[in-house]
Symmetry: C2
Subunit: 326 residues, 2 copies
Amino acid sequence: MSKIRLGIVGYGNLGRGVQYAASQSDDMEVVAVFTRRDPAAVKTVLPVKVERYDAMEEYADKIDVMILCGGSATDLPEQSAEVVRLFNTVDSFDTHAKIPAYFDRLDAAGKESGHLGAMSIGWDPGLFSLARIYFDSAVRRGSTYTFWGKGVSQGHSDAIRRVAGVKDARQYTVPVESALERVRKGEEPQLSTREKHTRECYVVAEEGADLARIEREIKEMPNYFADYDTTVHFISEEEMKRDHAKLPHGGFVLRSGTSAAGNKFLTEFSLRLDSNPEFTSCVLVAYARAVYRMHAEGRCGAVTAFDVAPKYLSPLSEADQRKQLL
Amino acid sequence: MSKIRLGIVGYGNLGRGVQYAASQSDDMEVVAVFTRRDPAAVKTVLPVKVERYDAMEEYADKIDVMILCGGSATDLPEQSAEVVRLFNTVDSFDTHAKIPAYFDRLDAAGKESGHLGAMSIGWDPGLFSLARIYFDSAVRRGSTYTFWGKGVSQGHSDAIRRVAGVKDARQYTVPVESALERVRKGEEPQLSTREKHTRECYVVAEEGADLARIEREIKEMPNYFADYDTTVHFISEEEMKRDHAKLPHGGFVLRSGTSAAGNKFLTEFSLRLDSNPEFTSCVLVAYARAVYRMHAEGRCGAVTAFDVAPKYLSPLSEADQRKQLL
């Protein structure tokens, strides 16, 4: 069996995760990593060729799917519609408000070049979106809830690091257990932002910094913390390294509803991940398989997880899927 | 908007559930129920025309999708390949060992007539199968576990009713909490049949029956009970009616795995249903929407949940799906 040839664009936590994930699939190989840094300065977790971003064109016949591992703020909006001119792509674009415009641009570029781009792939958006659409489609009368955590929010950790006097920070988003329990009981509560999640911050302060001011500035930060019950713990650099080195995450999607005869239904999907980027990468690699197969069937343009039949994700033959997984 | 016109074939718990479920979807209407009983003897939960099974042909232009609500033992194997000659169909065929042959027959009949049949739809097979294929595709190194219950198994209840001296019976399948916890901890245990589920039986005995013999015969019944820790409770007819009238069910699909870098992942999907047939019916109706749309795009033959992209299930437009659910 010839393998699906992957390229990795951008080599941070996600790029490393894709290399790890591809190594667990016999039908995949990573041909090259593309970086806008100096390729010689990039150390990969497994052996692979590292190329300059601009060398991509030379790989037009050597790579089946490019997995875009950049960030949603600037990398992906620049890259996806550009890379899809030469390759099929998969990305994890997650800036929710900008998804419609991003979809249209990727769709147009893909249709023009005859390539297929899968966007907003991962776990949220991604597997959580799938839970939402399946649950919503089956249980028409009800309420859907998404809780995140317990896990590290990198955006919130970065926001704390921008406070004067902060050397390092790690922010955990924590779902409120009592709110989860109310949903599980079938109450269908209206929950405010504050009632759903709390925020736990671990902060390494610079020597002599005004801790009370730092704590106040964090707790009052609009959008990030002001609407939440936030706790701030000051810790040492050693404690940060020892206790907060990983990037765990997870969460819950629940739908609570009622049949026309008055019977209650509760559907729940949850994830508990020791490494958020490594799991996201696993999902990206599964969708690279789907993109490869759907493109081989003549599909081009943009797709999200909603457009991909599950059969395309599995390395098993369709007959074996029915035998082993149905 | 013109509605999707449904027919219901067979009118037991599932047929009633389909009527209820369709009443919760604005884009659906039930045109007629078809029965092999005397139509005049069928009382429907909501107003609808009841026709003889043989009158189906007259509806060839009046119904878009037939939902087959018969049993997997004899009804569906007879009906599905027959009904698909005239209509698109959805069914809940769940005899696992016979799925490959059933698929081939439905696929051939559908391709010949130009209709589409979705088979093995519901929650297991169905939503649980989806959890298994998504989890297995994303987490390549790991173990998948399916637990059922707590809920009424109708097959096991029927088996008890066949024991001499038993007037009525209800059997609950109960997942072993400690086994579930071991899976959630990431142990990836090898679990025997006995370690995963227990069986709780509620039995109304005939007056003067030998209770010790009934209990022994139940517990020693091969396939159904011999491999499980089984408890038998003798109750009165009144207690049966009062405490065991509903058909609740549910269960769990979990996958526990590890990334190539050694990080643990736990994915879990669970259902808690006050009414097993009413929830199954909700899923059947969502797949009727998908079958209608895929057939309109030219698709025919047989499909399972694995072949259906999630977008086809939702009543929302694709743009609204991306806005509201992605």
